[in-house]
Each structure stands twice: as C-alpha cells, then as structure tokens.
C-alpha cells in the first residue's frame, strides 16, 4: 500500500496558530461581523487555508481594513474577499448590491444586515 511520506494531520497545529493573540482578535472581529461563533469560523478557516496563510491573517487584515467604503466595512466585505479569501471579489460586489437594494425596497437596516449575513454564510459554506 502506498503511504504518503510525511503527511500528517495539521489541524492541531493550525489551531495553535489561530490561538495566538493577534490571530484571535482578527478571527473574533470577522466572527462578530458575520454573526457566528468563533469556533465555527476557526473550523472553516482550518479546513480552507494552509498554515502560511493562517499565520499571515492579522497582517492581511491590517491591509484590508484600509480599503472599502462604509457599507462594505459594515458587511465585512474587504476582510472576506481580500484578507480571508473566503469570497471572490464578484461575490463581494453582489452581496453589497443586494444589501443596498433591500434597503431601498424598504427593509429595515437590521433586517437587511441579517439577510446579508445569511447570504454570506451560504456562500462560504458552498
């Protein structure tokens, strides 16, 4: 039987990376904007990203925070598309447009925000 040389379960080590202080702050921030628990977001990140990417999360967040307008920041789109790479850029744009449309068609701000969060979560889980 072929056994892969040197392949190891990396989840534990990825978790150690995410536990350090600045990484934890970045994950907490995005979890709050998405309205999910920190553990859920950690799980998604551990499944999706390699170790180098996880190490670099705080620096990427610093860079991403400088972009985007107020609406995008409220929805956390710069973080999602640029820093965490969980959504593609087109998806980010479409989420923003739908959010603005809902507000125009009379939904309350909170309602629209909730719907946008649901939509983002759908997209991430896909």
């Amino acid at each position: 039987m072929n056994r892969y040389l040197y392949e190891k379960d990396l989840r534990q080590m990825k978790l150690i990376i995410l536990e350090s202080r600045r990484h934890d702050a970045a994950v907490m921030e995005l979890a709050a904007t998405l309205g999910i628990k920190r553990q859920q977001l950690r799980k998604i990140l551990i499944e999706r990203s390699d170790m180098m990417f996880l190490e670099n999360l705080p620096a990427r967040c610093d860079a991403a925070r400088e972009t985007g307008d107020d609406t995008e920041r409220l929805l956390g789109i710069p973080l999602l598309t640029q820093a965490f790479h969980l959504l593609s850029r087109e998806e980010g744009v479409s989420v923003r447009e739908q959010y603005l449309q809902r507000i125009q068609s009379g939904t309350t701000l909170e309602g629209a925000l909730l719907e946008a969060q649901m939509e983002i979560l759908e997209m991430i889980k896909r």
Binding site: R21, R22, M52, E55, N56, R60, A63
Partner: protein, 361 residues
C-alpha cells in the same frame, strides 16, 4: 497526443538549498507551477506563550531568540517598546550606538540572504565571496557587542558597552574594505549572463498582490512600495535616511535592493560615527504599566511588537508579527504561481529571504 499529468511536487522539509525546514507542496503541470502550499510547524516553539507572565529581563533574552539571524532588531524593538511605555529616553550616544549595531546586523543578514540566493542559482564563487565578506561584518559585531549572534547589546535606557576610539577606527577601516569588495561583487552580479538568465523576469510580484498581503521590507521595496519603518525613527531621521526603492519586482530587483541597502548601511554607520559625541551610554528608569504597538524595520521588513506590561515589569500579553510571515505568504501564493520551471521554485522562494524560525516563533 501527449498527456500532461498534474503532479504534486513536495519540496522539503530537508532540502539542500534551504537553511531551514519547511515544506512547499507545489501542484505542477509538467514543469509549470499551478499553485503552492506551505506547510509549517517544524520549528514551532511557542515563544509568545512562554513569554507571557515573565519579567522583562527574561523576555528580553527570549525576544532575541525569536530569530538568530536578525537578533539585534528583536532586541532593539522590544527594548524600545518597553522604553516607550515607561517614558525612558536613551542617551544620545546610546541611540547612535544602537543604530550602528543594528545596521551591522542588517548588513550581515543581507549578505547571508544574497549568499543563499547565489548558492541556490549555483553561482558558488560569488556565494563564497559574500559569505567571506559577512565574516568581516561579524567581526565588527563581535568587537562592539562581545558576541557573534545573540549579543543582548541593547538594554532599557542605553546600551551595554561603549565603543572605544580605536575600535571606531577598526570599524571605519572595515567599512571601507566592505565597500570596496562589495562593489566588485555587485558588478559581477549585475553583469553575469547566467545570473541575469536565472533572475531577471522571474518571480514577479505585482504591486497589488504585495499590498494585499501586506508584504514588507526588500520584497515590497523591490515592487515599488515605499515602506520602511526607519524613515519614522528619530535617530535615523537625524542621519538623513531615505529608503531604496526599485520597480522591476523580480528576483534580480530583490537581490539588488539588498545589495544597495548594504551600501546604505555603511553610509549610515559612517555618519553615525561622525555625529556621535562623548557621553554616558546608560541612563536609568523603571518599567511602568501600559500597552503599546511598536514597529521597527528588521532586515527583512517591518517588525511589530504588541505588548502589555504591568507595574512590576512583567509582560502580561505579547504578540510578535515578524516580517517573514507576509513575505513567505506572498511568495508562496503569488510569486511561485506561474513559475515556468520547477528549478525556479527554490530560487524564487529564497529570493524573498525566508526565515522560518521567526515565522513560527
């Protein structure tokens, strides 16, 4: 028809070209690199976890051992952030001495980085020249601080030992020697046809990718980003520092930026030696409670310390963001993609001057 097979090509953790263990897994089609993934954890020591709750006197030595190649800058940034919290100002002579030691450290680090690059592209002669020149720098570091690698030279309020006048003369002579020798080596590097073939136009890092991943240091400056923390540091400002920026964004530019910075460092040391006046090298002070986010420029780029102290001088919380983290990330996820041959993987990776020890801490 010939069928192209996608294979996953692992490089490392032990590889003749790498100084340090890490593992790059490249998805390739033929020799063309489609994507790369870096696997770490080989040197994870958990330094930030050890540091928590310890007095600064201990953390100072731990901070120095985050990275052995650029140990002086970790010492420098940690002490300066503790000083900033407690309002201690170093004496003037000490501030200049710090710059001198820091620049010597930068020189040896850049020479080492360029050595590994030349070694990776199989130009061993030039590599050995550079490694030998590095010993001259190491001698000067040892002369001033008393140790080659982990010297713990900088203490709150000043530095540990003074520069004697005859040592200053030795240092000046060594700087002249370095300038003369290095300009010869740089000419070899600039005009060598083999080097140009294996460096120019390879490993392009676009400005957008660099900004998105927050690339720092020579890697970013070779892509035309003006990012150097030394330009905001008061002592460097007094010495008239201005960063070196190139636009080519390939392997060649990154190596050339490092060469030019070595020349710049010799210039900075000379002007620091000229500006230095006699005076005390150590002030006093007590460490107070507070928290800070402080940046300094390591040889590889911007180094960030985020720490909280208490009244007893203990470090309660600490987070270190070293320059290699964004650089290796951008290297593996932007520069390695579209590499035309598997032989370029190592040379592109080394050109970003990766330091795994400080990436993982």
């Amino acid at each position: 028809m010939k069928k192209t097979v996608d294979i996953s090509l692992p490089v490392g953790p032990m590889h003749p070209c790498f100084k340090e263990p890490c593992r790059i897994k490249c998805e390739t089609r033929g020799e063309y690199v489609l994507s790369a993934e870096v696997e770490l954890g080989y040197v994870k020591k958990g330094i930030e976890r050890i540091m928590r709750g310890r007095p600064w006197q201990e953390v100072m030595f731990l901070a120095e051992r985050v990275c052995g190649i650029c140990s002086v800058i970790h010492n420098f940034v940690f002490i300066e952030s503790v000083e900033k919290i407690s309002g201690i100002v170093p004496t003037e002579r000490a501030a200049y001495l710090r710059v001198i030691v820091n620049e010597l450290d930068r020189m040896q680090s850049h020479l080492l980085a360029n050595y590994s690059y030349c070694y990776t592209i199989e130009h061993e002669t030039l590599a050995m020249y550079l490694l030998n020149l590095r010993e001259t720098v190491m001698d000067q570091l040892e002369l001033i601080t008393g140790a080659r690698v982990t010297c713990a030279y900088i203490v709150p309020g000043g530095v540990r030992s003074d520069l004697r006048p005859d040592d200053a003369d030795t240092l000046r002579a060594a700087l002249d020697h370095i300038d003369a020798e290095l300009s010869r080596f740089v000419r070899i590097f600039e005009t060598g046809p083999l080097i140009a073939l294996r460096s120019k136009g390879i490993g392009i890092l676009t400005k957008e990718a660099a900004i998105e991943s927050h690339a720092v240091g020579p890697t970013a400056r070779a892509s035309g980003i003006d990012n150097d923390q030394r330009s905001t540091h008061p002592t460097y400002k007094a010495l008239g520092f201005s960063p070196i920026i190139r636009q080519e964004a390939d392997n060649y530019a990154r190596i050339m930026v490092r060469f030019e910075e070595v020349f710049q460092s010799t210039g900075l040391i000379r002007s620091a030696l000229a500006a230095m006046k006699e005076g005390p090298i150590r002030g006093g002070g007590t460490i107070k409670a507070g928290s800070i986010r402080y940046r300094g420029e390591a040889p590889r780029g911007e180094l960030l310390y985020e720490l909280t102290t208490d009244d007893y001088g203990r470090i309660l919380e600490i987070a270190i963001q070293t320059p290699s983290i964004p650089n290796i990330q951008v290297c593996s996820h932007a520069m390695l993609i579209d590499a035309q041959s598997a032989a370029d993987i190592t040379s592109i990776f080394i050109s970003s001057d990766p330091c795994i020890a400080c990436t993982e801490r």
